[in-house]
C-alpha cells in the first residue's frame, strides 16, 4: 500500500528517511511493519519444519508451508486482519490459504500467537543489529581510531568545567571515545545475540505441545535453533522481558556516548574556540540570514536525537511488568521500539560521515592553549615542590598564583624572579633538568597522552578484528 511520504508523522518516516534512504531501507528489511511480518512468517515456517523433523507432519508439508510463508505479503495480512481483528490469526489464515488442505492443520500448530510474535521480534532485532547496525558501528569505530591516531600528538588544552586545566592531545581526547564506544559496541553485540524466542504456548507451560511431545522444551530449542535463536529460560505467554531490556539499555547507553562526543565537538566549534569544523559543502547555507555562519548542526542533530530517544528507555522498563501470564499493555508500546535502533544507526552514520572529514584547526588549538599556558605550570610546580619535600606545596603555589596575578605577571615569570621565590630555593634546587623542562615548556606537560592514545587505539582495533571476524557478513 502506497502512501504520500510527507503525510507521515514520525520524522524517521519522512525527513530522516530522506536524509539517508539507503540506510533506512536496509533497516526497514527488519524493523518496518514489512520486516515484522516477514520475520513472523519465518517463525511460522520454522515451527512447521520442526514438526516435520519430529514426524508430526510430512516433510512436504513443511516445504509447502515454507514456500507459502515466503509468498505472503503484509498487505494481504492486513486485509485479512480487517476481518479477524487479530493479527496473528490473520497471518495464519493467509498462510493456510496458500497451502493444501493436508498442510493447513500444521500451520501454527499448537503454538500461541506470542510464540510467533516474540520469536519474530528477537529474530528481527538480532538480524538488524548484526547486519546493519554493528557493521556501521565498526566503520565508525574505525573512523574514530584513525582520527585519534592522526591527532595523537596534536596539542590541545584539557578542559574541566569549561575552564582550561592542563594539556592533553586532541587524539587522546578522541581515544576516550574509541574506548567508550568500542566497549558499548561489544555490549550491543552481546545483547542482540542474546535475544530469546519461545515456543512454549499460551502460558509458558507447553500445555498444548505436551499433548504430543514428551520433551516440548527440546522441540522449542530445535525450532528456535533453526532461526539462530535460543529459548527464554522461562516464559509466561511471553519471553522474559529482560533480554530486550538489556538490549535497549545497550543501545541507549551507546547513544549517550555519541551524545557526549557530539556535545564536545559542537563546543569545540564555538566561535571563540574554533578548534574543529565540519566540512561545508559548496552551496550549503549556514543560516538564512547570517550567511557567514558555520553551525555544528550535525553534532547538534545527534544530541537532539539522543534527547528524543533516551526517554524511550522508560517505556522499556515499564514493559518489564506484565500481569500474571501476560497482559497486552506492552504491545502498542513495544511497537515503537524499532525507532530506537533506527535513530541510533542514523546517528552513527551521521557522525561517521562528519568525522571522516573533520577539519582540525591545530593552530587554533595551540593558540587557545597559549591563553593560559602560563598558569598550567601551577600543577606540576606544586607537585614537584611536594615531591622534593615542601610540606604545604599546594598552598604555596596558590599564594604564588595570587601574587603573580596581583603583579600582573605570569606564574612562570614569578618563578624565575629569584627574590620572589627565595623561600622555595631549597626545593627548587632539587628539581631535575627534565622537571624544569616541563615548567618552562608547559606544552610538554602531557603525561602519557600520546602513548595512551596508541594503547586505546590498539584495543579498539582488537575489537574491530574480533567483531569483524564474527559478525555475519551482509
Amino acid at each position: 500500500m502506497e502512501r504520500d511520504l510527507y503525510a507521515a508523522f514520525s520524522p524517521l518516516d519522512h525527513r530522516y528517511y530522506l536524509a539517508n534512504q539507503k540506510l533506512f531501507d536496509s533497516l526497514a528489511e527488519y524493523l518496518s511493519e514489512n520486516g515484522l511480518i516477514k520475520a513472523q512468517l519465518r517463525v511460522e515456517a520454522a515451527v512447521t519444519k520442526g514438526l516435520a523433523k519430529r514426524e508430526i507432519c510430512p516433510a512436504a508439508v513443511a516445504d509447502e508451508v515454507e514456500k507459502a510463508c515466503r509468498a505472503v505479503s503484509p498487505s494481504e495480512v492486513y486485509e485479512e486482519e480487517a476481518t479477524t481483528r487479530h493479527n496473528i490469526r490473520a497471518l495464519v489464515n493467509c498462510i493456510q490459504r496458500r497451502v493444501s488442505p493436508e498442510a493447513r492443520p500444521f500451520v501454527h500448530f499448537s503454538v500461541t500467537s506470542m510464540d510467533i510474535v516474540d520469536s519474530a521480534n528477537a529474530l528481527r532485532f538480532m538480524e538488524a543489529t548484526n547486519k546493519v547496525l554493528l557493521p556501521l558501528c565498526l566503520e565508525f569505530l574505525e573512523t574514530l581510531i584513525s582520527l585519534a591516531r592522526r591527532e595523537k600528538a596534536t596539542l590541545q588544552m584539557g578542559r574541566t568545567h569549561g575552564q582550561h586545566a592542563v594539556p592533553v592531545t586532541f587524539g587522546f581526547a578522541v581515544a576516550e571515545y574509541v574506548s567508550r564506544f568500542g566497549q558499548r559496541v561489544e555490549k550491543i553485540k552481546a545483547a542482540a545475540n542474546n535475544l530469546r524466542g519461545k515456543i512454549a504456548g499460551a502460558v509458558g507451560a507447553y500445555n498444548a505441545l505436551a499433548l504430543f511431545l514428551p520433551d516440548p522444551e527440546v522441540f522449542a530449542e530445535e525450532v528456535l535453533a533453526e532461526l539462530g535463536l535460543k529459548p527464554s529460560p522461562s516464559a509466561t505467554q511471553i519471553v522474559e522481558p529482560e533480554y530486550f531490556t538489556d538490549y535497549f539499555h545497550a543501545l541507549i547507553s551507546t547513544f549517550g556516548v555519541l551524545a557526549n562526543l557530539a556535545d564536545d565537538f559542537r563546543n569545540l566549534q564555538r566561535t571563540e574556540l574554533a578548534e574543529i569544523g565540519e566540512e561545508f559543502a559548496p552551496g550549503q547555507v549556514g543560516s538564512s540570514t547570517m550567511p557567514h555562519k558555520r553551525n555544528p548542526w550535525n553534532f547538534e542533530h545527534v544530541k537532539s536525537m539522543w534527547k528524543a530517544i533516551v526517554p524511550r528507555m522508560f517505556t522499556v522498563y515499564l514493559d518489564q511488568v506484565s500481569e500474571h501470564q501476560r497482559d497486552l499493555t506492552n504491545s502498542a508500546s513495544s511497537r515503537f521500539n524499532p525507532e530506537i535502533v533506527v535513530a541510533l544507526a542514523a546517528a552513527v552514520a551521521r557522525l561517521n560521515r562528519v568525522l571522516k572529514r573533520l577539519v582540525v584547526h591545530e593552530e587554533q588549538m595551540r593558540k587557545n592553549f597559549m591563553l593560559t599556558q602560563e598558569s598550567v605550570i601551577a600543577e606540576p610546580l606544586y607537585i614537584l615542590l611536594a615531591f622534593h619535600g615542601h610540606p604545604d606545596a599546594h598552598e604555596a603555589v596558590r599564594k604564588m598564583t595570587l601574587r603573580a596575578e596581583a603583579k600582573g605577571i605570569s606564574l612562570r615569570q614569578l618563578l624565575n624572579q629569584k627574590e620572589e621565590v627565595a623561600e622555595l630555593t631549597a626545593y627548587l634546587d632539587k628539581f631535575s633538568p627534565a622537571q624544569w623542562a616541563v615548567l618552562n615548556h608547559p606544552d610538554q606537560y602531557l603525561g602519557i597522552a600520546v602513548r595512551k592514545t596508541e594503547l586505546l587505539c590498539a584495543e579498539g582495533e582488537r575489537i574491530l578484528r574480533s567483531m569483524r571476524g564474527s559478525t555475519p557478513a551482509e
Copy 2:
C-alpha cells in the same frame, strides 16, 4: 513522494494509521511533514502581507506571495533542500521561484528561519488541537456523561487496594472521569490557544526589522494576529519554550486520566470480576488458541500507548534548555512531538468507540457486592456507635469482626445476636430507624453517590456547552 506504507517504522505511520485512517488523515493536515510545510508557507505569506500593510512592499506583492505560498508543495521544498541543505532557505527559494522579480525580495524579508519555524509550529499545533483533538475530546466527554448518567444508580462495590471497601455506583465511578477528563480538556484548550509565535529575528532583538521600523514588535503582533497567534513576550532566536512545555503537559496529563480509566476498566473485565465487557464484533478472534477469550484489548492498548507516550515529556523538558540565543539541539527532538497529539487523539477516539457500546453486567456487579456485603456494615456501625457516644468504636468493631470471623458468622448476624452485643446495647438503642436500615441493607450505604454523579455530569455539560460554543468549527 509515494512510499510503501509497510516500510514505515513508527506504528503511527502504519498499523495505527490503518486502524483509523480518517482521524489520522485529518491530523496529518497539520501534524505531518505536509502540515508543517503548509503552516510555514502560511507564515511566510503573513509576513509579506504585514510588509504590504506597512507599505514596505506593494499589496500586489503580498498577493503574489500568498498565491505562491499556496502553490508550493512539500516535495518541491525537499528537492530544493538537497541543494541548499537548509530547509527554510529551500522553502524561500521555492516561493521566490514562483513570484516576479519585484516580489522576490519581500519573501522572507528581514525575518529569520526560526520566525517561520516557531510560528508555524504554534499555528499547526493550535489548529490541530482546535479542529481535531478538542472536538474529539468533547465527543468522548459526552459519552462519559451519558454512561455516568445511565449507570448512576447501578450498585457497584467500591474497591481500594483491590479489596472491597464500601459501595458506590458504577455511574459515580464514571463521573469521576467526567470530572477529571473535563478539566483536562479545558487545560488543553487553554494551552493550545496560548501557543506563541515570533517575528523577532535572529537573536530576538528585532535587529533586522528595526532597520526600517520604529516599532518592530508591533509589526510582529500584526503579522501573528493574521494567523490567530500572539507573540512570545520575549524571544531569543526562538519563542520562550514554556508555552509548548505547558501544552504537552496538558496533553500528557490528559493521557494519564485515560490510562487510569483504561486500567480500571480492564480490571473490571477480569474473569472473576466480569462487571463490564467490550462488545465483540462477529468474526473477531479473541485469542488464536483460546477462542473463548474476551480480552479487554482496547483498554490494554490505551494503557500501552500511554506507556509509550508519557516519557516523551522528558524530551520536552530537556528542550527547555537552549544555549544563549539558541542552539539546535531541540530541532530533531521536537520533530517527534506531533506523535504525542496523534497518539492521544487515537486513544480518545478508541475509548469513545468502546465506551459507546460498553456492556455493563449489573447482575454481576451486585453478585460481587454480595461477596462482602456482610462486612460492609463495619464502617457505618463503627461510626454510628461513635456518633452515639461509644468512646472507642473503631476498636470495638474490629474486635466484633474478629469474633464474627471466629464464629463463622457475619458481622450483621453477630449484631443481631443480643447476647453477643450486650455491652453495646446502650448505644444501639439510640440508632434511628434510618440508621438501622443501612446496617440491614448494606447496598443502601451509598452516601450521596447518585446525587454527586448528577452534579459532576452537570459540570461536564457546562464544559461541553462552553467549549462547543467557542471552539472554532471545522
Copy 3:
C-alpha cells in the same frame, strides 16, 4: 529522635542541608516528616471543629481536640504505629489518648485516613510554597531585574549554535529570564493555591458522613475552608491527582528555566569566553591540583540538580493512575515529592546568591564581539539590499562573504572597495545615512534590545508587585 546527620542517604538530608540550613529548616516546617504529621494534626483538628459547628459535638470537644493536636509529637505517632502498623490510626490514637472520653469519639469522626493524608499534603505544599518558595522566587526575580537593568546596554555578541550571530546586550539576554522565570512563578503560585483537599470518606461518596448530614459535601467545604483549602470536585478515596500533577509540572518547568540560565552562564564563563565570573571568596579553592581555576561550580551544580529532579515528574505522571477507588501504589512514591520543592528552592537561593555578586567582564564581551564584528554586517547588508530592491540579496551577500574570505579581507572592507561591489552600486546608493551607520558600526546593530530589556523588566516588576501584595507574609 536524633540521628547522625552524616548517616543520611539523600544529599538533601546531609550535604545540601548543611549548605543552607536556614532555608532547609524553614522548608522542613512543612515538608519533612514533622511537617507532614503537623499538617495531618491540623486537619484532624479542623474536622472536629467542623463537627462542633454543626453541633454534632460540643464546642469544648473541638477545643480539646485542637489542643491535643498541637501537643502530639511525630515520635509519639511513630511509636504508636509500631503497634497499629497504620500511620493514621496511630495518629488518631495519640490524639485520643490526650482528650477526655467524651471527646474521643469525635476524633477522626466519620472520615477516612486519606481525607486526612490528602488534605494535609495539599495544605503543607501550599504553605511551603506561599511562605518559603515564592518569596524566594520573588527575591530572585528582583535580582534578575536588577541585573538586566544594570547591563541593558552592555554589548554582547548574540550566539546561536555556539556561533556568533548578531549582537544583543547582556541585559537583554538576562531579561529573557526575567520574562520566562516571572511567568513560571505565576504558574507556581496558581498551582500551589489550587491544591485540593477532601473530606469525602473511604470511596469519595461521603458514605459515612451522609449517615448524619444531608449535605456532607458542604460540610467538607466548611472543614477545608478552615485550612484555606477547597475540595476536589470529585474524589475516590483520594483527591483528583491532577492538582498535584499540575503543581509539580509548574515546579519542574521552572527548574528548566533555571537550568537554561545555568547552562548559559557556565558557558559564558569558559576560559575562552570569560564574559562573566562568580565572585570567589578568599581562601576558596578552585581545584585541588589547579589552584588557578575559577570553576562555574554553582551553575554546574544547578544544572546537575535539575538533572536529578526533572525525571521525578515521571513518578508524578505514573501516580495519576490509581485503580478503582484507589490503590496504594502512589503512597511510597509520593513521599519523595517534597524533595522536588526543596531542590528547586535550593537552586533558586543559590542562583540568587551568585547572581547578586555576578562579575560582568564588559571589556571581554566587547573583545569577543570584535572577533566577528566584520561579518555581523552580512545580515543588515543583505536586508538593506533586499529592501532597496535587490532580487536575490541573500545569495549576493553569501557570495561576497566567500569572496572576502578568499581575499582575506573583511566583508566591510570588501563593501568599501567600489570595484568589488560595482554590481551593487544601484542599491547601495539608496541606503540612508542611518543605515550606513549600522554597516560601519556593527555594534549599533542592536535592534530594540535596550528598549525590550526595559519592557521585560517592567513586566517583571508588575509580577513582583502583584504577588508581593498577595502572597501571605512569612
Copy 4:
C-alpha cells in the same frame, strides 16, 4: 552532628529508615555521607601506600597516613570545608593535620580530587553490593525457590489479559520469578564488581604522575588493586561513566522484576480472586474505617517504590555526558544514586519477609479455576482436532464455543453430545485415552508446569551456590 530524624526530607531518611533500621544502618556504612568520606579516606591511604611501595615516600609515611585516614571523621571534613569550600581539599587538610610534616606532602600526592571521588564511589558501591545487597538478594532467591517448590503442583488458572487462559501451577508462576530474578542478581554482581577507579590525574593523561614515574598507569593499577578495584580503560578527569550506567541498569531492571511480582501478587489478593494473602500481625489495622480489610500493602509499597526509583535511570543516562575532560554537572545528581541501592535493598527485604509467610489459598485457586474449566478445553480440543487431521480446527472450535454458549451448556458437555459433534467424529475417534483424559479433566492440562518448576528451581540453586561460594562474606 545529630539532627532530628523527623526533620529529614527523604522518606529513606525517616519513615523507611525506621521500618528497617538494621538494613539501613548496614547500607549506611557505604552509602551515606559517612560511607562516602570513609571510602575516600581509604583511597587516600591506598595512594600513599602505593607511593611507599614505589619508594617515593618511606613506608612509615604510608602507615602514618593510613592511621590518620582511619581517624578523620566526616564532621571534621565538613567543618574544614566551610573554609576551603572544596570537599576533597578539606579532606586532605584533615589528613595532613594528623600527620608529621614529613608525611604531609605525600598525602593526596600528585592525584586529583576526582581520582579520590570516583575510586571511592566505585569502592563503596561495590562493597555495599557485595556485602549487603547481594546476600539479601540470595536470601530472597532462596525464599522464591522454596515457595516455587512447595507450590509446584498447586493448580492455578493461568491468566492472560486478566482473563482465564489455560492452567498452570502456582509454583510454576513463582518459578518464572526464580528465573528472572536469579539472572538479574548475576547481572548486579557482574556490574558491581566491574566498577572502576582511576588514578590518572586532572585530565586522565597522568600528567602529574608522569613527572616521576615511567609507568603511571601501572602505578594506578597497583593503587586500585589495593582496594580490590581495576582502573577505567580510559579516563578524562573522571572514570568512563558506562560502568555506573550498567550497574544502575542492573539494579533498576531488577527492580522491574520485583514490581512485576508485586503487581501479580497484589492482584491475586483482590477480594474476588483471594488466592493469596499476607499474614496479618495481631493488632495490625487494615484500614482506619474498614477494619475488616486485608490490604496487599507490602506489594503496593514495592510497586510504588519502583515508580519512585525507575525514573532515576534518566539522571544516570544524562550523567553519561560530561563536556571535554569533564564538567561538574554530574556531581549533585550522582549524589542521589545511593538511594537507588537503598530502595532496591529495602524492597527485596520486604518481599522476602512477606513471601516467607505468604498464605496460599489453594482451595480458592481451584475454585477460581472451576469458573472456566469448561472452556479451558477449547485449546487442547482444537489442537487435537488439528493433530488428527482437521483442516480448520480453530474455526471449528470457535463455532462450537458459540454454539455451547447459545445453548447454555459447557463446551465439554457439547463435546459429549454425539449429535452436536457428528461432523467431528472421524477425528474424535482417533484421540488417545490420554488425550481424552485432558479433555475430561481440564486440571490435567498443565503441560510440563511441574517439571519446568523443578528445572528453574535447580538453576536458581546453581546461582545460589555459585554466588555464595564467591561473594565475600560479611
